[in-house]
């Protein structure tokens, strides 16, 4: 097993766990945590590819992804706080207003 | 004496012939030993210093001048009952003191403690680990200190602790932003993130003064000094553990060894902040007006063998660093017993409305200065 294979394998595993959690959990904030796990898995794969080709492109993309993840997490949390103030719960099952 | 030198040089040759991983391990162990030895001295210094400021004599019964007072305190805390609140989340309750102690130790690992120790042809830096991004690493590890406060506050199952924990963590993250902006202007000035290079850049003299960072970026010095008070939860930013306001804040429910760990974590965090400030602004381990090469040559001229001479040079440099750290620690203790505590809204408005604009303006000023001082479009 190569170092790159190990790192990419771990990255894919974290991504899959994130997908599993995102589709499964009921609470919105835990779904957000699983979203962060997904982004983190992608970051790990990108860093291992950056090492493989000895280029800075992968790492630069990782920096951009980290920044975007920070902005998105902050916004999502602000939305959850506003929703909680409105309705009293952050569970995704309670928000069915758009359902036909 | 000569046989001692021969043994030392043989040992040095043997050590140098080993692979490169042993000396970092040795450095880390020496560092840990130094920190663990310094904490009891600091606790005593705080109590005696507080007493001196308040015109009374502090602990002076246990041992000569009260030197063993901290040992007595430690023994008392070990035998005190470490209570666990009834419906507290046990894992996080016990994790919080560990999270308070570990990040400052790790942060101290990237501080350069001395010059290079020469074993034969190899030069080993007297530092825990010499990262090329040491400055940013220190900031990253310091930002993990927030978790101890948060988990301690929440896991205690106590309203006062939760409030103290939330307030303290919001204070710490607000002042971290100011530290980040201040570090940006420092990076522009020094041009590197490597702490060892920053220390070596402050070695020479410019005019009559040593080329220390405090003369190049005085505003950042003041900003980082204030923010280090906020980050370590020391007075005047003491509200989270304000005794008269919130019982004891986030560590209300802790007693015995867990409380001792929190206190130890606070002192090691103070040490880390002092070391950080002295590395960036007061020239680190440099002795003012004497370069490392001159010092090494001074010892080599006394016909001392190379390894021993380099060890003595490093010892002198470490003593210089210890003096600077001691100065900052004394100021920590001095301010604690001199200034009143900030109110929470005063604290937050100071961080966001005063310090953050100052740091941003400083970044812009530094950018403009470095652009025009380098001759325009350099």
């Amino acid at each position: 097993m190569d170092q790159l294979q190990l790192l990419t394998g771990i990255g894919i595993a974290i991504f899959s766990l994130g997908v599993l959690g995102f589709l499964t959990r009921r609470s919105g904030i835990i779904a957000l945590m699983c979203l962060e796990l997904m982004l983190n898995g992608v970051n790990l794969c990108l860093v291992s590819f950056s090492r493989q080709h000895a280029s800075a492109d992968g790492s630069a993309l990782v920096m951009l992804i980290i920044l975007v993840a920070a902005a998105e997490a902050a916004l999502a949390l602000a939305l959850f706080v506003a929703l909680f103030r409105q309705n009293g719960s952050v569970e995704l099952d309670d928000y069915r207003m758009l359902k036909g | 004496m000569e046989s001692l030198y021969r043994t030392a040089s043989n040992f040095g040759d043997w050590l140098g012939a080993q692979s490169l991983i042993y000396f970092p391990v040795v450095s880390v162990l020496i560092l840990a030993a130094i920190i663990l030895g310094a904490v009891p001295v600091l606790v005593l210094a705080e109590r005696r210093g507080a007493a001196w400021i308040q015109r009374r004599s502090g602990p002076n019964r246990v041992g000569p001048f009260g030197l063993f007072q901290t040992v007595a305190d430690a023994i008392k805390l070990i035998f005190k009952e470490a209570n666990l609140p009834k419906r507290a989340h046990l894992f996080l309750f016990l994790l919080a003191p560990a999270l308070a102690v570990i990040p400052p130790f790790v942060a101290l690992a990237v501080i350069p403690l001395g010059g290079d120790v020469l074993f034969g042809p190899n030069a080993y830096p007297f530092q825990g680990v010499n990262l090329s991004v040491g400055l940013l690493f220190f900031l990253a590890i310091s930002s993990l200190h927030v978790y101890s406060v948060l988990t301690a506050g929440w896991a205690s199952n106590n309203k006062f602790s939760l409030m103290g924990g939330l307030r303290s963590s919001s204070q710490m993250i607000s002042y971290e932003i100011v530290i980040g902006m201040a570090i940006v202007s420092l990076v522009i000035t020094y041009g590197t993130l490597d702490l060892r290079e920053i220390v070596y850049l402050q070695q020479s003299t410019s005019g009559a003064l040593p080329a220390w960072g405090v003369f190049k970026q005085p505003v950042v010095f003041v900003l980082l000094w204030i923010c280090s008070f906020a980050e370590t939860n020391r007075l005047p930013f003491d509200l989270p553990e304000g005794e008269s306001e919130l019982v004891a804040g986030y560590h209300t429910e802790y007693s015995g060894l867990t409380f001792a760990l929190f206190m130890m974590g606070e002192y090691v965090a103070m040490l880390a902040a002092s070391a950080f400030l002295s590395t960036l602004f007061l020239g680190g381990f440099n002795i003012p007006f004497i370069t490392e090469a001159e010092l090494l040559k001074f010892f080599l001229d006394m016909n001392i063998e190379q390894t021993a001479a380099s060890i003595m040079t490093v010892a002198c440099q470490f003593a210089a660093l210890a003096a600077k750290i001691g100065f900052f620690m004394w100021v920590f203790i001095w301010v604690r017993w001199s200034l009143p505590r900030f109110r929470y809204d005063q604290l937050m408005s100071l961080g966001w409305k005063v310090l953050l604009p100052i740091s941003v303006m400083n970044v812009i000023g530094t950018m403009l200065y470095s652009y025009f001082a380098a001759g325009g479009a350099a």
Partner: protein, 184 residues
Amino acid sequence: MIEPTILQYILGTLILSTAILTVLGKNPVMSAMSLMGTLFLTGLLYFTVGAHFVGTVQILIYAGAICVLLIFIVMLLDLKPHNVRIPGRKPVYLFAGGISALFATGLVISTLPALGTNGMLDSGVIAANNLVEDAQSAKAISLTLLSKYMLPFQVTALLLLAAVMGVVVIGQKNKLTDSEGKGS
């Protein structure tokens, strides 16, 4: 073919266990703390492959800021522990999902040597000249970011500004809806 070090195996195991704890944890605070652990350990994993700058930034931003914000909000909203729901209410679906994820992982990993390094990584040329470390240093990353990826960099800056303004606006207490919302 560079063998993974023991530290990387240990870190990999720890990362997977904290990630499983995040996904399947009942208590939201415990979930958030194990997310912090996962992100911190991933940062350490970046250090072991020589990406010091990316690792430091990961610890600084992900583990040190995003997770603090998450834990803050969880404590603020006072979320209670609740049971984890299994998709389709049958454990066999979980098992099937796990097996297919494992299969997909193995498929991707088996194609990896074909992605090509021009033999440089294997022959030790890169390792000998510290090229990997230099290529992932702060200087190289920032040069790439400010030259090749200048447009995404600026757009990300705008995005952050928009996010800050959005958070301030959304997080405000709207006096109208609050007084009306009390009845609902």
